[in-house]
Amino acid sequence: MRLIKDKTNIDFLSRTRRNIAVGLSVIIVVVSSLSLGTRGLNFGIDFTGGILLEVHYPQTADLTAIRQNLTVSGFDKYVVQEFGTSEDVLVRLPPQPGQETQVIRDQLLAVLADVDSTVELRRFSNVSAQVGEELTEQGGLAMIFALLMIFGYVMFRFQWKFAMGAVAALAHDVIVTIGFFSVTGISFDLSVVAAVLAVIGYSLNDTVVAFDRIRENFSKLRGADPEEAMNISINEMLARTIITGVTTLIVLSALLVLGGESVRPFSIALIVGIIVGTYSSIYTASATALMLHVTPQDLMPPEADSELIDDLP
């Protein structure tokens, strides 16, 4: 079976298409950045610290009654929401410094049992603000570190113009994926950081495979200009790019639908990241390399110093 013709010849990198793609990317990145700058992210308690309680009621939970009870009991700044189903409820509170964990837990459970005594505790977390701050710092460091290491690897295996292309594509993917969380306001928890790093791995995988083919074609199609050689390479890899993307998206959809509420942000981050990553390995990576005037010579193994010797008087 074929999803893609054996020989496609789509001119991905023509000047107009490239400009449209670059323009589109710039717009999305700007929108993401603006949203991140103004709306920020809906950080989970992993990052903010605070208290999270998940409970299960045998029938539909009365959120209004829960909120009223919380207010009456002296809690403020709480968030009460359904979690996946109407029987599951999530209660979030900001950090309560100086309060004993067990006291708060008992108080909260008492409040929730007041609404319906058959309430069942599913999960309780009390994270100090300090741990949250450290995690935020660590997450940011991890991403920068991963990008640097990858830049080094691509430079070692290819050349700096390609490394720039790869890292530009990755930065693009990271910003857009995180931007998506900012725009939609989906809870950004620790698992999303993991997902974003996995997106970095995946998108890079795509980019590197394309670069590999570009390098091969640069030496096979001597005389072809870089744009043409790159375009041919992308066309040749199109079937693979799409099939791997499809299989990965299939399993991620299974995870999104069946995995339950707690892996939802993780699945969404990966799905968005993989779609963006596939696009960016075609456009962002190659377009960046082209803008840096990549030439076939950039990738040729340096030929022995014969020319140099010839030039000597």
Binding site: Q102, R122, G201, E216, R240, I250, V251
Partner: protein
């Protein structure tokens, strides 16, 4: 062309067979069980198994199987009810020498157990339990060390008849003398007591400042952490938790993971409690150097107590709670050094009063004017009783003045040993067992459905080659499970997500190869040549792609904590095993089926 040597085919087969064997224990599922471990860490023999059988039979509790694993007796049940009943029963019977803990045990048949094979261990998010991250209060650890120096130096100066004022403060001990000569003499005494400590000049020539070296500070911190870990382990054992994890994290933190604990309240009290006792003589004349006024608990008179501690909590080797003359009491046994000291003191001080001091440390938070919170460690020391020494005693005695609950908790804490420095919870999570169950069911369902969908897709898209890739995908799953079982790394929900992602990505290598073979055929090469160059030319792309993903996974592992690490582990394992299954594994099958034959077309 395209034939693997026989040994290579056998090697591939052997690796797959061992993978299947190691992964095997995971298919049996688990059942409620009890684990009976010897308190002193020793091993139980068959005799204990027989006693357990006898006790359960006499009480009509049905058990499914009883066996010894790693020196512990494991009893497996058919129902949760049987388990609950049996826990109480066996706890009562064996409280003297064992820790009885409810747990879950794999239903693996004896021959699998005999090979030492275990299923994957499940993380807390999949089985329920309590996770606590504790921070050790290093300042207190330092202060207590400096106070020990203070007392030691003061004693030495007094013995050498040097008059001095010695006081520990923030990070040093200050000593002030009457003359420069005394200060010089004190210097050598300090050197004698501790050859490494830093002796600095004080404000003038008659005073000294003594500080610990960097190495000493680090050693003290390490000691405090290690000591705390030991104590926490003991406490957790006393509570009866199977497979607890108590582990250092970073410079000053300790992770405690208690699978299966459902009521975290009791745990909260016991884990971070610092309650301990000290015994001191009352300074009746009020002239003992360094004596200090202690307040009494409700209804108890405060006293001025001598500086010298007769015995302290860390010298207590056993403690039981009970009643003495109708009052709740703790019965205490001291170690030999403590006992010696107590004997000496009681002999010399008959008919004189001695006080028991109850010490507890807790952390108070203060909200500063700018809205941030700051913490401060508050140490409460109060006299719980003062009694006249009526007779000479040594290492066994009792103390009163507590409520029954306090007596019970204190006895447990004293048995488990004191914390070298107070600990505070900074991250605290409880996962209910039903959520764990739901998580694992959902996770496995996602793996199954995702796997199935990919298999169908590959079979349709690449026909027979797709089936071969599916075989590789399945082996890949087996290998991941086998490696996780072998490493006994905890499988978490993000870990399952990592497996799901691997399933999607692992076919990539085969897609690269198959697409390449198709290209080669279209380019007009012979079938055998196309297979060979398909595998050959795709290799560098596959290697590059996997190495870069591996880099991301390794960074994730290095920076990540807890659940993130689980994801990084399964993702990295999946990448490595998929390289083997997708390249060597499929090639071996392709060679067997299609290699060395004249073919006009390929089912690809």
């Amino acid at each position: 062309m395209n034939r693997y040597p026989v040994w290579l085919n056998f090697l591939v087969l052997a690796i797959l067979a061992s993978g299947i064997l190691i992964a095997l224990p995971n298919i049996y599922g688990s059942a409620p069980a009890i684990q009976i471990a010897k308190s002193d860490g020793g091993e139980f023999g068959d005799e204990r198994v027989e006693r357990v059988v006898e006790i359960l039979e006499r009480n009509n509790i049905q058990s499914e199987s009883i066996y010894i694993q790693d020196g512990r007796v494991v009893v497996r049940f058919r129902s949760d009810n049987d388990q609950t009943e049996a826990v109480e029963l066996l706890r009562r019977r064996f409280s003297s020498d064992s820790n009885v803990a409810p747990t879950k045990a794999a239903k693996t048949p004896p021959w699998v157990r005999a090979m030492g094979l275990n299923p994957m261990s499940l993380g807390l998010d999949l089985r329920g339990g309590v996770y606590v991250l504790l921070e050790v209060d290093m300042e207190s650890a330092m202060t207590s060390r400096l106070e020990a120096y203070e007392q030691d130096f003061a004693d030495r100066f007094r013995e050498a008849r040097i008059r001095s004022r010695v006081a520990a403060e923030a990070n040093q001990v200050n000593a002030r003398f009457q003359s420069t000569e005394d200060a010089t003499a004190a210097r050598s005494l300090i050197r004698e007591a501790d050859p490494d400590v830093l002796i600095l000049d004080g404000m003038d020539e008659r005073s000294l400042r003594i500080r610990m070296t960097e190495a000493q500070i680090k050693a003290r911190q390490d000691f405090a952490i290690e000591q705390n870990i030991t104590t926490l382990r003991n406490r957790v054992d006393q509570l009866g938790v199977a497979e607890p994890l108590v582990q250092r994290q970073g410079v000053n933190r300790i992770v405690v993971q208690l699978p299966g604990v459902q009521d975290p309240n009791e745990l909260d009290k016991i884990l971070t409690a610092t309650a301990t006792l000290e015994f001191r003589l009352v300074d009746t004349a009020g002239d003992s150097p360094g004596s200090r006024l202690y307040s009494g608990r409700d209804g108890i008179v405060g006293q001025r107590l001598k500086r010298e501690v007769i015995a302290s909590g860390d010298q207590i080797i056993n403690a039981e709670s009970g009643f003495s003359e109708g009052q709740p009491a703790v019965f205490i046994t001291l170690d030999s050094a403590g006992g010696e000291n107590m004997l000496e003191t009681t002999k010399m001080n008959l008919r004189k009063p001695m006080s028991t001091v109850f010490i507890e440390t807790r952390r108070d938070s203060i909200v500063l004017p700018d809205g941030t919170t700051s913490y401060r460690t508050v140490k409460t020391e109060e006299i719980i009783n003062t009694a006249t020494i009526q007779g000479i005693f040594k290492d066994r005695f009792r103390t009163t003045g507590l409520t029954p609950v306090e007596a019970r908790d204190l006895a447990l804490l004293l048995r488990a040993g004191a914390l070298a420095a107070p600990v505070f919870k900074i991250d605290d999570r409880t996962i209910g067992p039903s959520l764990g169950q739901a998580n694992i069911e959902r996770g496995f369902q996602a793996v199954q459905i995702g796997f199935l969908a990919v298999i169908v897709f590959m079979a349709i898209y690449y026909r027979w080659f797709g089936m071969i890739a599916n075989l590789a995908l399945f082996s890949n799953l087996v290998f991941i499970v086998a490696l996780l079982s072998l490493l006994q790394a905890s499988l978490t929900l993000p870990g399952i997500a990592g497996i799901v992602l691997t399933v999607g990505m692992a076919v990539d290598a085969n897609v690269l190869i198959f697409e390449r073979i198709r290209e080669e055929i279209v380019a007009g090469n012979t079938i055998q040549k196309s297979i060979d160059s398909g595998y050959g030319k795709a290799f560098s792309s596959i290697a590059d792609a996997n190495i870069t993903t591996l880099i991301a996974a390794v960074v994730l592992f290095a920076f990540g904590t807890g659940p993130i690490k689980g994801f990084a582990v399964t993702l990295s394992l999946g990448i490595v095993t998929s390289m083997f299954t997708a390249i060597i594994g499929t090639r071996s099958v392709v060679n067997l089926v299609f290699g060395g034959r004249r073919l006009n077309s390929l089912p690809i």
